[in-house]
Every structure is written in structure tokens, then in C-alpha cells.
Assembly symmetry: C2
Homo-oligomer: 301 residues x 2
């Protein structure tokens, strides 16, 4: 089999549930590959074969540098890449080499930590670095929606502070596993129910706990539909998050790193508060961040 | 096999996960039986055989009246016993007969509903009725801890209003299914962490969303132990509930219907706010309520 693809380095985004790899020539993507060998499924000795299998077609006689970000660098990952405390630049020059038995040369990007309030991120620091590459000189607040949404304050090329919210995971647990699942069986989304719930939760955040079961009762007593209930649940959770994250967005320059439904929900929620935000594609940012890490750390090979 | 037990009626507490039956003579328990044939596991035609199997030893040639409360009366249960809107007495004279193919004579107690804010209960109305029987003339607020904790305002023998909170279910989902489970693996409980978190959530309820992931980060960065994390998670959720339920307990006469760890957590949380509460045994209240329903509805047989 001939080798059509000869990357000069390989970028790897290795999260809890997915493994994605990009054959790179400078900042250009030559090819991509992905599998479901996320960090959460692998034991320490399974990382090397999982990666080797995915990128086998891209390997040449010469060793190709590989730069990885995400949960692969956690304590339960391939190698622990120690947290770097904020305030700091999102990327360090130094990466952490992963132990390998063969020819792979893999370096892992460190996450960031904050002492008080206690917080950590892993993977998002690379997206933040990429966003900074793509928007040089930009100061403001970046919102990174996800299972664990992050809000990060950026200034003069550094991450000054950040805060994580579990709203995404809470939405998944409540809509899939709690008694509310019975009221959310059909698909759909009702914009007005969402913005109403956002406003309600922002103005009276202490009512969140009281409002949740009300969604179930509204369905039982008044036949409230799934589209309304789903949007209201999302609105309550994102509204409560905005109430807690107010110092991050009030009067700030805000960008949202994400393109899916969840990112659009954050955009709409911020709009209800009169806060415009810029939507930025996640993959571009991740690749720009991995590229920056690769360039910065040239010293290693 | 000789019949040692000859009840004049049978009390049944049939919830989502358990079925419990009591052979009764007036208000006296002659025998008890229980199984895991909860409403959640049964289809419509499985209720009658499940009950018949459990109480077979108690049945005589004469038909014995059976009174049941709980989720058995929901739309997904044996027969739908329609909600009664508050304000009203916790029990009506009229019970709903369950369809049977054999000799069982089963009547089901209705739940209560509230139009605004939307809310429902099923099973707790019987405990409330029993509490009223055991404490005649008592006016105040009853807290019924559970998967879905209820707060009910009682006055002059009626349930005036009530409110349901999902804090119990949220605690179970977050400690078993979310990323926080990694930080809660060992047993234990730290009282100070609990009361600190209660105070924090009551005084700044909008911070709940922000504090949850902080429990995970505190474990990763500072090695916070499981006993502290578990108590803090419980304290945050119950504190947020107390913030939302303030009109129910502030300056009120409060009783807590429950005896386990969860009931004691509510007692301790109310103590942090200077609110004394009386703890009342749930089973006594349930039986007193079923007995009252049986006596009130004598007309039916």
C-alpha cells in the first residue's frame, strides 16, 4: 500500500469519549481520522496501540512528532501532564512526553488549574490558545459550552481566571435519567419557553430548585409538551449559570466557542440579557491551538 | 396450612420501587409483608397477581377490604385515582376501586394537585393525613424528605399549598452518575462541610451552579476527601432548596416526616437557620393515614 499522506506532524484531540487525529503539514490538515477510543475506555497500556492503529497509514520511516491535548493528559490518562496555575498563557513551551514502547513520539499539553475558587480544565486551554491565534489582541471573556461549560477571562495573552459549570451534564442527567425524562420523550424546542426560563432563573436564581419538578407537574396537569419542557429545562439551567457567571459576561466582550445547538442556546440566553456574543468554530480553534503548541515546542525533537 | 392471621382489612403502601402490605385489625398491625414489585416494574395486568401473591396467607373466605396509597394510583399504575386540587383535606371519603378479575376488593387513595405553581403528590397525602390523626389540631408546615421532597402547609385540617423539590434525586444522580462520582467513592460525612454548604447556598443561591464542579476540582487539586465532598454536595442542594422554600419554613411551626439520614440532614439544615423541627416516624404516619382512609370510606363495602 503506497503512502499518499506524509505529514510533518500529527495533531491529536483526545477527550473522554473520542479520539481524533489530524495529519498535518504546518497548519494545513492533510487527512483526519477518528475513533471512539476515548480516555474513559482505556487503561494506561491501551493508549499507545489505540493511537498507533488509528494513524498507521500516516507513519513513515522517520519519526513524526505528535502533539496531543485533552483528557489523555489526566491522571487516568496516558501520562499526567501537570496542571499549570492561572494566571498564565494557555500553552507552555514544555510538553509532557508520553511513555511509549515503540517509535511514536507523543507530547501532551498541560491543563490549567485555579487555586481559589478551585477549578481545572484540560483540552479547553488548547482551544483558548487557538482562539487567541485566530484573534490576536482580543481581550474579553470566552464561553466554551460543553458537558462542563467553561468561562475564561482573557487579557494580554493570558488566561486570568476561569469557572466551570456542570449545566450540560445536569441537562443530560435530568432529561435522560430523572423523573423529568417522562415529560421529554418527543423532540422539539420552544424558543419562548427557553427565554422565559432564562429570565426567570437569572432574576430569581433561588427558584431553580423549585422550578424543576414543576416541569413534570406541568406536563401531568396541563399537558405541557416536550418541546416546551425541554427548552424550559435548558433555560433554567443556563439561566442559573448566567446568574452565577454574571461577573464573566456583564459589560464584557464575549465570544462563544462552539457551533451546535448548545452554543446557540448560550448565544440566545446572552441575547436575553442584551449581551451580544461572537460564535467561533471549535475545530478551527482546537487545530490552531495544537499547531501553536507544536510550533512553540520545536525544541523537543 | 392453618390461617393464624385473620385481618379485618389490609393496608397497602405501593410506591414506585416497593410494595408493602399490612394485615390490620382496626388500627393494629397483625403482620406485614413486602416485595420489590413496585409500580415502576409492573404493567397494568401485573398488579393484581403481585398483590395476591404477597397477601395470600391473609385472605379468608370473606372478602377483606384493601386500601392502597401511592404510585399504584397513577396513570401508569393499576388504576388512575384522580388528583384532588388543594386546598382540601388530605383524604376524601371516596376511593377509586381497582379493576380485579378475582375476589380482591381494592380501593386506591387519590393524590393531590396544585394548579399554580403546578405540583402533584401521590402517597404523601396519606402520610399527611396520618400525621394529622397523630397530632390533632397541629397547624404548620410538614417537610417530607424523599427522592422528591415535599413541603406542605397545613391549616385547620386542610393542605393549603405544597411544593416539591428534586434535591434527593439530584443528589443521587450527581453522586452516582456525574463526574462528581469520582470524588465520592468512599463513605463518610463531615458535619461542618454540610452546614457550611447549607449556609453558603442559602445566602448566595445563585452560586449553586458554580459550586458543583468546584467539589470535583477541590478533590483533584487539594485532595478534599469523600466525606467532606459528599456532605458539601448534600448541603449545597438542601441549602438551595431551603432558599427556594423559605416561605414554607421562615417563622413557621415545622415537622419533618422521616427518620433516616436524609431527614436528619434536613433537621440539621433547618437548625443552621435557627428553625427547630420535630422528627416524626414515616411508617406510623402512613399506617395512621391508611387507617383513616379505611374508616372514612366504610360506605364502600
Amino acid at each position: 500500500m503506497s503512502k499518499d499522506i506524509a505529514p510533518d506532524w500529527i495533531a491529536v484531540d483526545w477527550g473522554t469519549t473520542n479520539l481524533r487525529a489530524f495529519a498535518m503539514q504546518g497548519a494545513t490538515v492533510l487527512a483526519r481520522a477518528q475513533s471512539e477510543d476515548g480516555m474513559g475506555k482505556l487503561s494506561a497500556d491501551q493508549f499507545e496501540p489505540a493511537l498507533a492503529a488509528l494513524i498507521a497509514d500516516w507513519l513513515t520511516a522517520d519519526t513524526v512528532p505528535i502533539v496531543a491535548c485533552g483528557m489523555v493528559g489526566s491522571r487516568q490518562g496516558w501520562v499526567e501532564a501537570p496542571y499549570r496555575p492561572v494566571p498564565c498563557t494557555p500553552l507552555a513551551d514544555q510538553l509532557t512526553p508520553a511513555p511509549t514502547s515503540g517509535d511514536l513520539d507523543v507530547r501532551v499539553i498541560s491543563g490549567l488549574s485555579q487555586a481559589a475558587p478551585s477549578d481545572v480544565m484540560r483540552g479547553e486551554e488548547t482551544q483558548i490558545a487557538g482562539f487567541m491565534q485566530l484573534n490576536p489582541g482580543w481581550d474579553g471573556v470566552l464561553c466554551l459550552p460543553g458537558t462542563h461549560t467553561k468561562w475564561a477571562q482573557l487579557s494580554a495573552g493570558e488566561v486570568v481566571s476561569f469557572q466551570t459549570f456542570m449545566s450540560g451534564e445536569l441537562f443530560a442527567l435530568l432529561s435522560d435519567k430523572s423523573v423529568l425524562r417522562h415529560s421529554l420523550k418527543e423532540a422539539g424546542w420552544e424558543d419562548d419557553a427557553f427565554s422565559g426560563a432564562v429570565n426567570d432563573a437569572i432574576s430569581k436564581p433561588e427558584r431553580l430548585a423549585a422550578r424543576l419538578f414543576g416541569l413534570r407537574a406541568g406536563h401531568l396537569l396541563h399537558g405541557t409538551g416536550a418541546a416546551t419542557t425541554r427548552a424550559a429545562l435548558s433555560g433554567l439551567l443556563i439561566g442559573a449559570e448566567l446568574a452565577a457567571a454574571r461577573p464573566y459576561w456583564l459589560g464584557q466582550n464575549v465570544a462563544i466557542l462552539g457551533m451546535g445547538r448548545q452554543a446557540n442556546a448560550y448565544l440566545a440566553a446572552l441575547e436575553t440579557q442584551g449581551v451580544p456574543a461572537m460564535l467561533v468554530d471549535t475545530e478551527s480553534a482546537t487545530l490552531a491551538g495544537l499547531t501553536a503548541a507544536h510550533r512553540q515546542s520545536k525544541a523537543y525533537s
